[in-house]
């Protein structure tokens, strides 16, 4: 065993320098050079202020905004997380029923599955197009505009499955809400 300790120690130090420092630092340098925005969290700015990340979901509760999916961590990011409730959990059953009632009361439409279930990360940036469209009338009412305008904006923000094969159609909530604010500024609400 002892004869192996010296090469083991030297190899470990060498691997720490190579794979633990040189490799990630080289990737960091490269990232800053070729993709400064993407590699720093895809931050979204409005009027010079960071309002979030295009990739990370955030909470929206106001009637004039598209609402994201339920989140087990309430869109806290340090750390994010899921409910991890099992398929026969009575607690989950109760939560789903509660969310369904709230959703239907708010939107006057039946709730799609993604609107009543919490995501895996707690930070899902997307909702289904059905979920988004079901919220259009409520949003239009709060902003005092025609529902067709909201529906049109939602349609413009639908991402389709990759090559028609992988993933689901979805709508990015933050980007759509930014577009809504641009198209029809809210009556004096919000802290922005």
């Amino acid at each position: 065993m002892m004869t192996h300790i010296r090469p083991a120690l030297a190899m470990l130090v060498a691997m720490i320098l190579l794979t633990g420092l040189a490799y990630p630092l080289a990737m960091t340098g490269l990232a800053r050079a070729v993709a400064p925005g993407l590699s720093q969290g895809s931050l979204v700015e409005r009027n010079g202020r960071i309002v979030g990340s295009a990739l990370v979901g955030q909470q929206f509760a106001g009637p004039g905004y598209l609402h994201p999916r339920p989140s087990a961590v309430d869109y806290a990011t340090m750390p994010g997380g899921a409910s991890n409730l099992g398929p026969t959990s009575a607690q989950l059953k109760e939560q789903v029923a509660g969310r369904r009632a709230t959703y239907e009361a708010q939107n006057g439409a039946s709730a799609p599955a993604d609107a009543v279930t919490a995501s895996a990360s707690g930070l899902d940036p997307d909702i289904s197009p059905e979920n988004a469209q079901a919220q259009a009338a409520r949003i239009a009412g709060a902003r005092g505009i025609d529902a067709a305008i909201v529906q049109q904006i939602i349609r413009q923000h639908v991402t389709r499955p990759l090559w028609g094969l992988y993933g689901q159609s979805r709508v990015n909530v933050l980007r759509t809400n930014l577009a809504l604010d641009l198209a029809a500024p809210m009556p004096p609400a919000g802290a922005d």
């Binding site: 192996h4 120690l9 899921a82 993933g167 604010d181």
Partner: protein, 561 residues
């Protein structure tokens, strides 16, 4: 239908990728020149000189095992110290403190054994230095350790007389330099272009449109995620792992990561055929693994495709991300537990009962369906020894594999290695549900609580690292018990397999006769698959009946707990 066509294309690309990688790996492990030699050859030789290693020295199986154990032991000590001292070390922009001794032990063991079980949340509990110089390093070298053992065991079964098992230092170094590092660079760049952060900056502070404060966590993520997948490690930068939108932001990043998990393991099947100088032998192993892979994938997909009638959900999206849905979540669950990866893009705890059972089976049989890098292949060779032994018993002939006799010593060692799985999972799990301090980890009432415990122990002993994450993995009892079992699950298989390789390598090659059982045809593939299924089923069926099967029955009756 969209899902199934997607799966077929995925499997085709995966197979092609592994097939292309195999001849390259064959050259690398033989110490021959490859297209990367002009760049990496000097680095390789420099490393040997620095460490006082002669790569040409042939090691006995004992020498190989001791070098490996020494290297892993030191790796453990170094990682433990980094985790305990991170508050005094640089690259800690969030000012994160030390993690507790039991959690540091668990995490260090977990990364050294290629398990990457996460009882912590990286974004909240680890500094950038811990992620890079601690975890990323072990992601590379624990994977390289598995690949080295894989290659040594293949040599034991296939190398002509006069060729040894090889040299651990050379096999490990070549795995890192020529295979893992170049592939990681490619994947890291792709992930960066998809939006995975790669920066030394800490969290960005945002004010949301509705005026709330939100921290966008960042760090050197892409470089770590690349090797976490290619090395079948699975430990995420973030607690939510590859479900986190900054760790796996797009469908393309998802497919690239999924592919990376199984690329090297598939390559090892074909590498085996090449080193055996009979490619059909590699295809036979690939076919057996492929059958088991497709069976598991279809079972998860079917289990998830009906929604959850007990909760009135048309689609079971609890614990799943919108961009992936049930189709890509099912694929990932199969891929990550067929391999010893353990990263997740959806929360397995919220899967339907039978869909959640498949990952448990995949892990409990030892992750031999392509499996971990290197470890999947030597794990499957363990079953091969048992399969040809069973075939020999049936016809009353001394079993042979690749022209070498499989005798009492090899079968004894194979059984010894095999038994570490049921020992760790069933005995460890039974204690965990009986002792109140340990049973406090269970989140769910009803049969799902047993499934959670079973999943955790299968994951630890199988060196997988995924979890039914509602289960309280951070309890000191569990961090300690699971840490010890990860060591068992890793080294109680590696050492006997090296011993088998050591005893196989000197054996006389017997000529092929009419009485030789061919090990490349459909009959052998069937026998191998049945050996895996029957041994796995006999061992684990009773406990699966009490967990996932009982839960499915309850769910069908509309019962919740």
């Amino acid at each position: 239908m969209q899902d199934l066509i997607g799966y077929v294309l995925f499997c085709a690309v995966l197979t092609a990728g592994g097939w292309v990688l195999a001849p390259f790996m064959a050259r690398v492990y033989a110490g021959e020149r490859s297209f990367l030699s002009p760049v990496l050859g000097p680095v390789e030789r420099g490393l040997y000189r620095l460490c006082g290693i002669d790569p040409g020295v042939r090691q006995s199986w004992r020498g190989y095992a001791l070098a490996l154990l020494a290297f892993n032991l030191l790796g453990f000590v170094a990682l433990y110290l980094i985790l305990r001292l991170q508050q005094f070390l640089p690259l800690n922009p969030q000012g994160i403190g030390a993690i507790s001794p039991d959690l540091a032990f668990n995490t260090a063991v977990s990364f050294v054994t290629n398990t990457n079980w996460q009882a912590y949340s990286g974004e909240a509990q680890l500094s950038h230095l811990s992620q890079m110089a601690g975890l990323t390093v072990q992601n590379f070298v624990s994977a390289a350790t598995g690949m080295a053992v894989g290659v040594a065991v293949i040599r034991g079964f296939t190398a002509p007389k006069g060729v040894g098992l090889g040299n651990f230092w050379a096999d490990m170094t070549r795995s890192v330099l020529y295979v893992l590092l170049p592939l990681s660079v490619i994947l890291a760049i792709l992930l960066i272009l998809q939006g995975v952060p790669q920066t030394l900056l800490g969290g960005a502070h945002a004010t949301t449109l509705e005026g709330a404060q939100q921290v966008i966590p960042r760090g050197p993520v892409a470089s770590q995620i690349a090797i976490k997948q290619l090395g079948t490690n699975g430990g995420g930068f973030f607690g939510a792992n590859s479900a986190h939108p900054l760790e796996n932001p797009t469908v393309l990043s998802n497919m690239a990561q999924c592919l990376s998990i199984l690329l090297i393991p598939v390559g090892f099947c074909f590498l085996f055929g090449r080193m055996a100088r009979d490619r059909r032998q590699g295809w036979a192993i690939y076919a057996a693994m492929g059958v088991l892979f497709l069976a598991g994938l279809l079972a998860i997909w079917l289990g998830e495709s009906g929604g959850n009638p007990a909760l009135g959900l048309a689609s079971n999206l609890e614990g799943k991300e919108m961009r992936f849905g049930t189709g890509l979540s099912a694929l990932w669950a199969e891929v990550t537990t067929a391999a010893s990866n353990g990263s997740v893009n959806a929360m397995h705890d919220s899967f339907m009962p039978l869909a959640g059972m498949v990952p448990i089976i995949n892990m409990a049989i030892g992750e031999v369906i392509f499996g971990g890098v290197g470890s999947g292949l030597y794990g499957m060779l363990l079953y091969v020894v048992l399969a040809v032994f069973l075939a020999g018993l049936m016809v009353g002939r001394t079993p042979e594999y690749l022209g070498r006799k499989i005798e009492g010593r090899e079968v004894t060692l194979a059984m010894l290695a095999f038994l570490s799985m049921p020992l760790g999972i069933l005995v460890g799990g039974a204690i965990s549900v009986t002792v109140p301090t340990a049973a406090a980890a269970i989140q769910e009432a009803g049969p799902h609580g047993l499934s959670e415990t079973l999943y955790a122990y299968a994951s630890a002993v199988g060196n997988n690292g995924s979890a039914f994450a509602g289960w309280g993995a951070a309890l000191p009892w569990q961090t300690t018990a699971l840490g010890l079992l990860m060591i068992l699950g890793r080294f109680a298989i590696i050492v006997p397999m090296l011993a088998i390789a050591g005893s196989m390598i000197g054996k006389q090659q017997s000529p092929v006769t009419a009485g030789t059982f061919p090990t490349h045809g459909p009959l052998f593939v069937t026998l191998l698959v049945l050996t895996v299924v029957i041994l796995g089923a006999l061992t684990f069926f009773p406990v699966l009946a009490l967990g996932p099967v009982a839960e499915q029955t309850a769910l069908s009756a509309g019962q919740t707990f």
